[in-house]
Amino acid sequence: MSAASNKIARRPFIADLLARRGRALIVCGLGSPTWDCFAAGDSPDYLYSWGGMGLAVPTALGIALAQPGRRTVCITGDGELLMGIGALGVVADQAPANLGILVLDNESFGETGRQRGLTSGRTDIAAVAQGFGIARTMTVMEQGAVSDLATFLFETPGPALAVAKIAITDDPWALPEKDGAAIAHRFREALGLQNA
């Protein structure tokens, strides 16, 4: 992998991407993907996460299956995805056309001290996804790919998985609501669901 300076800067990249999401629901993986989405501008369409590592894709799959008319995109990290990697097989099996997955791959465990992650070595998440049967995959390496990535994630029939190789950066803290009941209540309310 090339020097970090050539890689994608996550915050402006995610802000640019989310500006193109339309009405898509966004399921944020725990840690930095959640901070990135909140930093780009809060929305009730965002389901933030502060825990449950490995469950971002399953949660997004449940939402996509329950709301087939609504695009759902999971934005998560490489370590978070790998902890529940078998979920890609479930996604392939259920094959929801309205589900997109974006893996922000910085090849490290960013929240815990930037220890090296498995994708810094021989593991290629897009190839793994292909092996599970997710036929539509994409790997982006440059900031300028955001337009193509947005079309891929928000418009082309899913399930679709993209890997964005991102830089390790020092970003200011951007911490959203952490009361899960409040997050869930707001998300459901925006979908017009009864919270009683």
Binding site: G51, P58, A64, A87, G180
Partner: protein
């Protein structure tokens, strides 16, 4: 398959239908065979085959967040794979309904099943899941209905533990 075993599966299936629990996530177990066949044959229901049980906790939570209801059905050994994941519905104040067929319990033949089977109720209780053990086939349906109502109306995690006495101990031809 005994008549009694067939009956409790049908009872659970009717509870699912009556409460519009339309998604069933599972890593299969022998004791779940009939229920899973009923679900698979029902066009208004969706069977989601998992690679590990914890995925079902995420999928069921996502279903509820987006306006539908799901069940996670598994063998007791799968409960151990769900413990950290069970923090998700609790944190979100989301319902979580589990149906667990027990091993390592009544007349178990396989020693590898005993540790997790014996640990299933205390492990679930330790992460805040309300357990509904049931050891009579004729009581599974009403117990499952009570657990489902508690889960979805009070928005808590509830697990119905169908005893190995109901399922029948697997003997691998042993006397």
């Amino acid at each position: 398959m005994s008549i009694a075993a067939a009956d409790w599966s049908s009872d659970v299936f009717r509870v699912l239908q009556a409460r519009t629990i339309t998604t069933v996530c599972t890593v299969p177990d022998g004791g779940l065979t009939r229920l899973l066949k009923l679900v698979e044959a029902e066009p208004l229901m969706r069977l989601v085959t998992l690679s590990i049980e914890q995925e079902g906790i995420g999928i069921a939570t996502g279903c509820w967040l987006a306006g539908s209801r799901a069940l996670i059905a598994m063998q007791s050994s799968g409960v151990g794979n769900c413990i950290n994941a069970l923090g998700l519905p609790t944190a979100l104040r989301a319902p979580c309904l589990m149906l667990v067929t027990m091993r390592g319990q009544w007349g178990e033949f396989n020693p590898w099943q005993v540790p997790m089977g014996q640990a299933t109720p205390p492990a679930l209780e330790a992460v805040g899941v309300k357990c509904f053990p049931v050891d009579k086939a004729e009581e599974v349906g009403e117990t499952f209905a009570a657990a489902a109502d508690m889960a979805f109306n009070s928005r808590v995690s509830a697990a119905v533990l169908v005893g190995q006495r109901v399922i029948g101990a697997k003997g691998f031809g042993q006397k």
